[in-house]
């Protein structure tokens, strides 16, 4: 069987699928760690969109953006996981339902 050449919109739809899987995880999960992982999934999906457009338009600016997004994602996860550790020290939980100091 001869496979068709991969069209750009196929790759972009795949990106939106991964992005929305990450969005679903962000909405339904209660564990802060899994929420952070979902955010990483969404960032990855956007990176692939950039690379696809970079390839489609023959412009390397997209790949350069991916480089900067990866750096920002690394800084974000370092600070985010630091926050998770601080949260766990204070409340002994990583569950978003248990974080209700302001409400009490």
């Amino acid at each position: 069987m001869q496979l068709q050449a991969v069209e750009p919109w196929v790759i972009l739809s795949f990106c939106s699928m991964i992005f929305l899987v990450g969005l679903f995880g962000l909405l339904v999960r209660r564990n802060v760690l899994i929420i952070l992982m979902s955010i990483e999934l969404m960032l990855n999906a956007v990176n692939l969109t950039f690379v696809t457009f970079s390839r489609q338009l023959s412009d390397l600016g997209g790949q350069m953006s991916v480089f900067f997004i990866i750096t920002v994602a690394a800084a974000e996860s370092a600070v985010g996981l630091g926050l998770v550790i601080a949260l766990y020290r204070t409340l002994r939980t990583v569950d978003t339902d248990e974080i209700q100091i302001l409400r009490d």
């Binding site: 991964i18 929305l20 990855n44 996860s77 601080a86």
Partner: protein, 185 residues
């Protein structure tokens, strides 16, 4: 697009999709984290298929190497290895609503990607031109240290701020904790 192997793309895309669903739905955070590692490797494969070799390498080094080690360390430190049954506690209507929203957005996005987009003038970096100029990594590096030098330097400032912030947040309670330890003695 020409020059992309459909077999490689669909293989890596299927792997990435399966493991990303597992990342979101697994109850145990550790198995979520390892599914996420597989997603990152599959994405690196897709980048390599698209000819973005430097991005593929950075994906493995930074995401699968650095960020995931951080995640695993935090999971280990917090010792939340007891399976978290949090998915079942989310109300059923909320899960259904989230699924509906996600499916609707997917249809909208796919439609936009299929039909939308005007003609844009292609840039000078066709795969052939990049290969003739010494390969993806070389061309990208030359761009990074000439046209994109200011964002590159700003990135180092951002990383410094991130390091200082992470240490400040994670170490905030040490002095208070030490006082508590001495007073309780």
């Amino acid at each position: 697009m020409s020059g992309i192997s459909p077999v490689a793309f669909y293989l890596f895309a299927g792997l990435a999709l399966a493991f990303s669903v597992m990342t979101v739905l697994r109850r145990n955070p550790v198995s979520s984290a390892f599914s996420l590692v597989m997603v990152f490797f599959a994405f690196a494969g897709i980048y390599a298929t698209l000819g973005a070799h430097l991005v593929a390498t950075l994906q493995v080094l930074v995401y699968a190497g650095a960020i995931m080690v951080l995640f695993i360390f935090v999971i280990m430190l917090l010792s939340t290895d007891v399976p978290s049954l949090d998915l079942g506690r989310t109300p059923r209507w909320f899960r259904a609503a989230a699924a509906v929203v996600v499916a609707g957005l997917f249809m909208v996005m796919t439609r936009v990607f299929r039909t939308g987009g005007g003609e844009m003038a292609p840039g000078p970096y066709t795969p052939e031109a990049v290969a003739a100029a010494g390969g993806n990594t070389r061309v990208l590096s030359e761009l990074m240290f000439s046209e994109y030098i200011l964002p590159f330097e700003l990135t180092s400032v951002l990383l410094l701020a991130g390091i200082v912030g992470a240490v400040a947040i994670a170490k905030r309670h040490t002095r208070k904790g030490a006082q508590d330890a001495t007073s309780s003695r």
